[in-house]
Symmetry: C2
Subunit: 277 residues, 2 copies
């Protein structure tokens, strides 16, 4: 079973009043009665042995966990409001350093740590929920791209893979906000252009034709396409800032070509063992 | 370092606009501009080896993880709206059974699964965030008890300890809602009456005098006082439904007596190794 298949099974028929968008995008969207804003919610785990090696400095764990979730807020054009942080760790874990880093990254992105949970565990695991906001009705989504739209990324790709994933992601919050009301669709590139663009195409029921993929310094085309963890924005529309990489097509849904050749949608999938890393 | 001390260090000076209440209560409270409701947020982890034994049925894990978080919503008088569920598990984990249980418990409590995260891990760990709501300004808090208030619990205590923690918690949602506008303060009993009442007293800067502790069938007084995991409500006010167990006092803050004798505030604390279990 792949992660996509598991997520597919989770879509429920029932939906809470006020829930504008549920499972399947970077964030869920909720709107309170009478509210002038929409709230965005995303959750991201960072687990020892899966997302980072044992003995990774607590500061890096905190920073990366929060920055990855912030990237989801950026992908919807949101402004971070507050976060909830759950930490499971052994008693010998350096909580002071970890929470100092949480405080610093929260201050940097003008976000409040509003709650969380703390538990003892053999393995270090961190789960971050971030709530962001956008003016009512303005959140960017991944399921609204149209055939004929130009396709863009915020910066060249492959840097994370080229440096052995030692980079700390920089959420593209201001870029995301500037795309509100302009981009037709947007998502963040967490698992690799190949698989993430495939997800956008499936959600929007389009195909895509890539004609130029910008490759970061020291990275290979393979790393730019499938390396993952770049946390750049992938978005569609006309005459937008950023780097144009192709065009959305009529499809069939999910069919992607690079210079006319089919592009496999491989990339990081936690439960697919044919994954490339 | 105890959990209380770690939480104490996390209170930040800065606070997001709209965040009515941050760290320190059962839920954080957020209010959107113009909204007629307040949103409640709580997060709870359930971790293999800490909160449940290896080979615990996935159905039980799902149920318990969600019910514990719902108990926090009940403690503030809220109605559940949606949840975000992060799961870390080995590839051999029975995802189907787990997510079927998530669906059933969500339906039972009229709550939508709005998102989540899935990751591979050696250890099974589940982190649940639930968003609930109350009419604007009506959420119950633990820091608003007054000296002279009567103290109540929703049912007799000690049942969880008496049955070896094999029970599945039943969140007291309707009881909590009925206390809105009537109770002066409320919280849920997750770690034991001794330590949880101590927390309420510290938050409200009061003491408490217990004169009758209702003990569940087959439980001992020790289990009712310090067993934990009962997930009943603990609340204050006058002429309220439920079981009256004592009176809030002038203090000193945190000083609790049972029939005139000092009550130690021991109980379940994840990082205090003098804990009783």
């Amino acid at each position: 079973m792949t992660e996509l298949e598991i997520i597919e099974r989770l879509r429920l028929q029932t939906s809470a009043k006020g829930l504008v968008l549920g499972i399947g995008d970077d964030c869920a969207i909720y709107r309170s009665p009478g509210a002038s804003e929409d709230l965005l919610f995303t959750t991201d785990q960072l687990i020892e042995g899966t997302h980072f090696l044992p003995n990774t400095p607590p500061r890096r764990i905190a920073w990366k966990a929060i920055a990855r979730a912030l990237s989801d807020i950026a992908a919807m054009g949101g402004t971070p409001k507050f976060c909830l942080l759950s930490l499971a760790a052994p008693a010998r874990f350096d909580f002071d350093t970890f929470y100092s880093a949480v405080r610093r990254v929260s201050e940097r992105y003008k976000m409040t740590l509003a709650g969380g949970d703390l538990a003892k565990s053999k393995q270090v695991a961190c789960d971050v929920v971030i709530c962001g906001s956008t003016p009512r009705g303005s959140a960017l989504r991944r399921d609204t791209a149209q055939p004929g739209d130009e396709l863009y990324v915020s910066r060249p790709l492959g840097m994370a893979a080229a440096c052995g994933y030692r980079n700390l992601p920089e959420p593209r919050l201001s870029e995301g906000r500037k795309l509100r009301g302009r981009a037709t669709a947007c998502m963040d590139l967490s698992d690799g252009l190949g698989i993430d663009l495939y997800r956008m195409c499936l959600a929007s029921r389009t195909g895509a034709s890539l004609d130029s993929v910008p490759v970061a310094a020291d990275a290979s085309l393979e790393q730019a396409l499938h390396g993952g963890e770049d946390y750049e924005l992938l978005y569609t529309g006309r005459d937008l800032p950023g780097i144009r990489i192709g065009t959305m097509t009529e499809g069939p849904a999910g069919v992607i070509t690079l210079n006319g050749n089919p592009l496999p949608h491989k990339g990081w999938d936690h439960f697919a063992y044919n994954s490339q890393r």
